[in-house]
């Protein structure tokens, strides 16, 4: 996955505008065999969320317990570290979801 600071910078305003938005879980799964960048976070849920402000988003679910993994569960978008990057790489932040 990219480690470019340019991409991080280019996405800022869009990402900033998506923090703190509510939605409900449409679908969920638990990723147990992750891609390289996410190896140290697995297992973790990935959810498709129907956003209150319209459209759907996909994201990691954080601060979760098994009882949160239900279709219809209300969630809110938060900003978190995307993954554990290399020691010299720029730090990526991304939208994730937290159960309400």
């Amino acid at each position: 996955m990219t480690t470019s600071p340019v991409k991080l910078w280019r996405r800022q305003k869009d990402v900033a505008s998506l923090i703190g938005k509510k939605g409900e879980i449409l679908l969920w799964t638990i990723i147990r065999v992750p891609a390289k960048s996410f190896v140290d976070q697995a297992p973790y849920p990935v959810v498709i969320v129907k956003m209150q402000h319209g459209g759907n988003m996909i994201g990691q679910l954080v601060d979760w317990q098994q009882k949160d993994l239900i279709i219809g569960k209300e969630v809110i978008s938060v900003l978190r570290r995307l993954r554990t990057e290399g020691k010299e790489d720029v730090i990526y932040y991304n939208i994730k979801f937290r159960p309400l």
Partner: protein, 345 residues
């Protein structure tokens, strides 16, 4: 006169019981809990850091203030766990909060008093009318070395305060402030070192107590007030014992101190510690109450403030998630999960 117009706090959801830590290292859990007067501490999620927590707290403060984030004209971010050694947390925070580009910004470090120092700097800008609104954030994901005494207390959290010179919006005026500073190497972390070092009992009397007590005496003298003039007092909380001792020494009662003692249930979130205690007090204050506040940062120094609440606080208290509510919104984790989440394994 300037003061606080809004505040926001964030405590991560996870808790590690001190008894769990004690069990791993073969220590007596009760002895430790009684000695430190802490039962559990707040642990960050795997993907949380000082900036992400600062954004959570900052958003809440902006919501309480009811202002456009672009009206903020300064951002000072105090932490001892800034994500970068060189790259400003303050502007990352500013960007994701929507502050725009026209603001003073800097990152501060002074152990646990980095953010209160930021408040004093902001007050300088406000009282000289260089700005109208300023944001100060204290946020830390404090690291404790496994098997070290600090492992029991090093915790995580964030506080955001918006200060202004707009009288009608102030919920707590700042009547007085001062600072007591020295070069006292009680607790330090070299560049590149993962964990801080500390000098055991030297962190007590010559460090915490000397600075907090002296600053407190100076502040009382400067403001011409006595402890009994205050409804509440707040001190930096490296553990549950020190603030209780210092309050007693100064002549404050248990009742004045109690509401601020968040440390018992969340540990010490460093730059957010004293500010979290202050927020817990502001959550329950009535108008026209005086609050005595002295922080402490190792190395060392103490920042003191005398606050007085206003009528405006009642309305704004309704627009917040109280500290007490966040304290009980928790998930207990194991020691192993704690090691994973704090990236030790």
């Amino acid at each position: 006169m300037s003061g606080i117009i809004a505040y926001g706090t964030y405590i991560p959801k996870y808790r590690l019981k001190l008894s769990e830590i004690a069990h791993v290292w073969g220590k007596d859990a009760t002895e430790i809990e009684v000695g430190l007067r802490i039962t559990e501490k707040a642990v960050p999620g795997f993907d949380e850091d000082a900036v992400t927590m600062g954004i959570e707290a900052g958003k809440k403060a902006i919501s309480m203030a009811g202002i456009d984030p672009a009206s903020l004209q300064s951002v000072y971010f105090g932490s001892e766990s800034h994500p970068y050694a060189v790259n400003p947390s303050s502007t990352t925070l500013g960007e994701y909060l929507g502050v725009g580009n026209n603001y003073f910004a800097a990152d501060l470090e002074f152990a646990c008093k980095a953010a209160t120092a930021g408040m004093q700097a902001t007050l300088g800008l406000l009282n000289s009318n260089a700005i109208s609104y300023g944001l100060v954030v204290g946020s830390d994901t404090a690291q404790g070395k496994p098997h070290d005494a600090l492992e029991y207390t090093a915790a995580s959290g964030a506080c955001a305060y918006i200060l202004s010179n707009k009288e009608s919006e102030i919920i707590a005026s700042i009547l007085e402030m001062s600072s007591f500073s020295s070069d006292t190497p009680d607790f330090w972390r070299r560049d590149g070192a993962r964990y801080p070092s500390h000098f055991g009992r030297f962190t007590g009397q010559p460090a915490y107590f000397t600075h907090v007590l002296q600053e407190s005496k100076n502040l009382l003298a400067k403001s011409k007030l006595k402890p009994s003039d205050f409804s509440y007092c707040v001190f930096h909380m490296p553990n549950g014992k020190f603030p209780r001792n210092v309050a007693k020494k100064l002549g404050f009662t248990d009742k004045q101190l109690a509401p601020s003692l968040v440390v018992d249930k969340i540990g010490n979130p460093y730059s957010a510690s004293s500010l979290m205690g202050l927020a817990a007090v502001l959550d329950i204050s009535k108008p026209k109450q005086k609050i005595f506040f002295v922080s402490y940062g190792s190395g060392a120094g103490s920042d003191g403030f005398v606050f007085e609440t206003t009528k405006a606080i009642l309305q704004k208290q309704k627009n917040t998630t109280p500290v007490s509510k966040q304290i009980v919104d928790k998930i207990y984790i194991s020691y192993q999960a704690y090691l994973r989440q704090t990236h030790i394994i």
